[in-house]
Symmetry: C2
Subunit: 212 residues, 2 copies
Amino acid sequence: MGKVRFNVTMSLDGYVAGPSQSENDPLGAGGMDLHTWLFELEAWRKTHGEQGGEVNASTRVAEVLEGGYGAVVMGRNMFGPVRGPWGDEPWTGWWGENPPYHTPVFVLTHHQREPLKMDGGTTFHFVTDGIGPALDRARLVSDDQDVLIAGGASVIQQYLAAGLVEEFWISLVPLLLGDGERLLDNLGSSIRLDQIEAVEAPGVTHLKFVVR
Amino acid sequence: MGKVRFNVTMSLDGYVAGPSQSENDPLGAGGMDLHTWLFELEAWRKTHGEQGGEVNASTRVAEVLEGGYGAVVMGRNMFGPVRGPWGDEPWTGWWGENPPYHTPVFVLTHHQREPLKMDGGTTFHFVTDGIGPALDRARLVSDDQDVLIAGGASVIQQYLAAGLVEEFWISLVPLLLGDGERLLDNLGSSIRLDQIEAVEAPGVTHLKFVVR
């Protein structure tokens, strides 16, 4: 059986996105800088149609993080900046015609919508009955691979608080954002973690945890 | 010349002490658990009069952190729980007759007090004119070794915000405290850091940063 997991890049002061997120700045002020370690990798550039790039200790981690899942769950804010009903010319995601997921993706929303089939094997399913049913549906189609909770922070928090996450990676970068979306907020002190692995890489340390 | 540095153990959600700190619970609820990695080390137990303990990847880091400084600066809340004027039978620190510093220690306070000489080379000096003068005095007597900013969180924040810290270690533990004293608050996004080293150890990852 696959695991329910997430992975996220976090600033040293705990943020996974900067302040003032918008359609033009989906990660908020300073938020793109979080992912410099990833954008520089050859492994990432290749899957996004670009040449060249670095091979370093992050490469293996990026390959682990970007593979091994058979379904994805994400919040509506991660799917797009649109709020309220979907309207007549609805948003189809940030990622163009061929999103990088290549699996079913379950989008948490309060507004019903027909499934949206994209190129490359990604189909967005819109789930209106909450995080539990969304995960159940993801598990059903994940073919015994992992279910990836893609984000954002509030969706990850909801799954953590519900005890539904089994393991996660935090890629910690030496950056202070000062404001924005904090990952590990609103969780109290009851979640018990074991540190499984730490991988030092240029400009980032990747930390793997298992929830007890 | 020595460096101005600090080292601190931080929970994954960013706290260096739990909520509800008191004389009986100086690290607040859950705060002692932050330091389990340290208390288990033979290197730490030996310097605190105890036998046995672990030797692991944290040992080298603990030796680096606990050596190499010639003077210490700390906040009054780290020195003790007493507030206001010192009174007639004043507090002499948490550490008994022989504190673990063995150097001059400059305590930031609003209330004047004569220097307090302890066993083992530690003398507490009480500084009423602010963080800059306290650091100047510490540098003067540090004999070209490092000046250690011992804490707590608000004092570290003040030195970071003033651009006076040159390097620091964060020992990150897989613990959520949910509340308490956050280390990297009130600092905005202007501080630039380089990650120098990451050391994976049982139950903790030690991260070294340099301030640009």
